[in-house]
């Protein structure tokens, strides 16, 4: 089999790092993209030492428009054609709309919306149609449920949902497999996720470990699954969502909102 290369954005931490390790285990070459100062060279060196694969690292800010071309110019320069793209980089928030400034929202929308769209466009251009190509877009269950304090984040993930579903239609019958990953909560950086530890019951069961999500996602992507929802509890929630009438869902969300407002 031909040696495959995967591009992973936001590769230095959390789910991105788990994608890198998971693909390395499967003997797939890596092009890792992450912000400068996020520990990317150390991760790349560690993977090189432990696996017999090629790892290229690109430290850059993906909200800088020049960098979309820079990635593919670099690949052309070193003679690599990528046949996997993991659009993982993203910026989350859990705050009232007034609590963040416009610079934050601009950055969030650029990173969560513009970056994956433009990278997908450029990726398809270089991948050609002879070999099967895979795209994995990291969405969120938040793109399906309306969750207070996730107004812009949830909206960007809804965008990714529509974008991915539509491309699946356009590219059906082609050599491109495009999958949407819709995870619930993921335990990533502990300093950011003290909240996850406070959750109980069902809410707790929706939270998975990054390495498990990465393994399930890559399995799904390689099988050409259209939507990957890791975790049985999360799949149940999606099923319930499609069955419950709108007014019931609304009242659930409102009662949750009351809980949040009380705090």
């Amino acid at each position: 089999m031909q040696q495959l290369t995967a591009i992973i954005t936001g590769a230095s931490e959390g789910l991105g790092k788990s994608f890198a390790i998971e693909l390395a285990r499967r003997n797939i070459n890596l092009v890792l993209v992450a912000l400068p100062g996020s520990g990317l060279p150390q991760l790349a060196a560690y993977i090189r030492k432990n696996f017999n694969i090629r790892v290229d690292e690109l430290e850059m800010d993906l909200t800088d428009a020049e960098n979309y071309h820079n990635i593919f110019n670099y690949l052309q320069l070193v003679g690599i054609t990528a046949h996997m793209l993991i659009n993982n980089a993203g910026l989350g928030n859990w705050s009232w709309f007034e609590d963040k400034n416009i610079i934050f929202y601009k950055k969030q929308i650029e990173l969560n919306v513009i970056t994956p769209v433009l990278l997908t466009r450029l990726f398809l251009e270089q991948a050609g149609s002879k070999t099967t190509s895979y795209i994995l877009n990291v969405g969120s269950l938040g793109g399906l449920f309306v969750v207070p304090k996730k107004q812009v984040y949830g909206a960007t993930k809804s965008f990714i949902r529509y974008f991915t579903k539509c491309l699946q239609l356009e590219l059906s019958g082609s050599n491109v497999r495009i999958s949407l990953l819709s995870p619930g909560g993921i335990n990533t950086k502990p300093e950011l996720l003290v909240m996850n530890n406070k959750l109980k019951g069902i809410a707790r069961a929706t939270i998975l470990e990054a390495e498990d999500v990465a393994r399930i996602a890559i399995d799904g992507m390689l099988r050409g699954k259209k939507e990957i929802i890791p975790g049985a509890v999360n799949r149940l929630l999606v099923l319930l969502n499609s069955m419950l009438p709108a007014f019931v869902k609304e009242s659930i969300i409102r009662s949750r909102l009351k809980l949040i407002l009380k705090r």
Partner: protein, 327 residues
């Protein structure tokens, strides 16, 4: 005379550290919640000081005139009835110690972390600047990692802290819930530990207590501010581990090899039992997952910079077995 405060003075590492420092002629203040604790070592140079790292006032008193502090106190058990206890002791407690040290003008502090901040490793032994590859489902590891972030903040503000990261520590000392290796060995000697997880080829790193104690003192003498040093031992598989214990003790048991999946299933039963009854679990799922990985660590940095030395595993285990047989 140099006065040194040791927190966690009744702990597996802390008590031996107190003794080693006292033997070198330092005046050691042994911080403990209960000054009559049976594990506290009696020595003319060891002065027990009643205190608790969760009470800043007691730290302030204990640290008066101390030039050096060893912070070994931690909650290292697998499970605790109060889920916040790990965060309180390991993160807030460490912050309290660092802040008291800053206010008391302590010249240097050695913080006892763990190799658990890296956790599982891939094919080669891991060194200090290499990354962690999985998340933090184990609460002990998570809170020790958060504590290291606290240390980093105090270092950035000017406090001279050196961090040491022991691997799985074993040796002559009390068998408690915090020390898995001693529990395994003493269980084997009494014929109560008869299982080997998986095919027994999973490798972990085992550090001998006197080596780790010497590593602490060397870190105080030579460690560079803000640096971390792995204090480990040899990388040993479960099969090698139990055959060494067998040779050292002259006791040969037929060991049962239990597949990781069966252990995982059993751990869920244990977790359920704990949830219903509040009784301590024997094993938890996040630990069962760990059996899929090696935990190999390299002590090369400590060897180069601190002169850290590793006692051969066979010799160290012989001494441990002889000790546990007597008690």
């Amino acid at each position: 005379m140099i006065k040194i405060l040791v927190t966690g003075a009744t702990g597996f590492i802390g008590r031996e550290l107190c003794l080693a420092l006292a033997g070198k002629g330092y005046q050691v203040r042994a911080l403990c919640r209960n000054t009559n604790h049976p594990y506290l070592i009696k020595h003319k140079n060891i002065v027990p000081v009643q205190g608790d790292i969760l009470y800043p006032d007691s730290l302030k008193k204990a640290m008066q005139d101390c030039t050096q502090v060893y912070h070994t106190a931690a909650l290292a058990k697998m499970w605790c009835r109060n889920p916040d206890a790990f965060y309180d002791t390991n993160v807030i407690g460490t912050r309290n110690v660092l802040s008291a040290a800053t206010n008391a003008g302590v010249a240097k502090l050695v913080y006892t972390s763990t190799c658990g901040v890296w956790g599982p490793t891939l094919n080669f032994p891991l060194s200090e600047d290499e990354p962690r590859i999985v998340g933090f489902p184990i609460v002990y590891e998570r809170t020790k990692y958060l504590a290291e972030l606290e240390v980093q903040q105090f270092v950035n503000q000017g406090l001279n802290v050196v961090t040491v990261n022991p691997s799985r520590v074993f040796g002559e000392g009390p068998v408690t819930d915090s020390n898995t290796v001693s529990k395994m060995v003493s269980g084997y000697l009494r014929g109560k530990w008869r299982i080997i997880p998986g095919n027994g080829e999973q490798v972990a790193n085992y550090a001998y207590l006197p080596d780790v104690v010497n590593g602490h003192i060397a870190a105080m003498e030579k460690g560079l501010k803000g640096n971390r040093y792995i204090l480990g031992g040899e990388d040993i598989s479960f099969n090698q581990f139990f055959s060494t214990v067998g040779t050292a003790s002259g006791i040969k048991h037929r060991m049962l090899r239990v597949p990781q999946k069966a252990i995982k299933l059993y751990s869920h039963v244990e977790q359920f039992k704990t949830r219903l009854t509040g009784l301590p679990p024997f094993f938890l799922p996040e630990f069962a997952d760990r059996l899929k990985f090696d935990q190999k660590y390299s002590s090369q940095k400590a060897a180069m910079q601190l002169g850290y030395r590793i006692t051969p595993f066979g010799d160290a285990m012989q001494k441990t077995v002889d000790y546990l047989k007597q008690t």
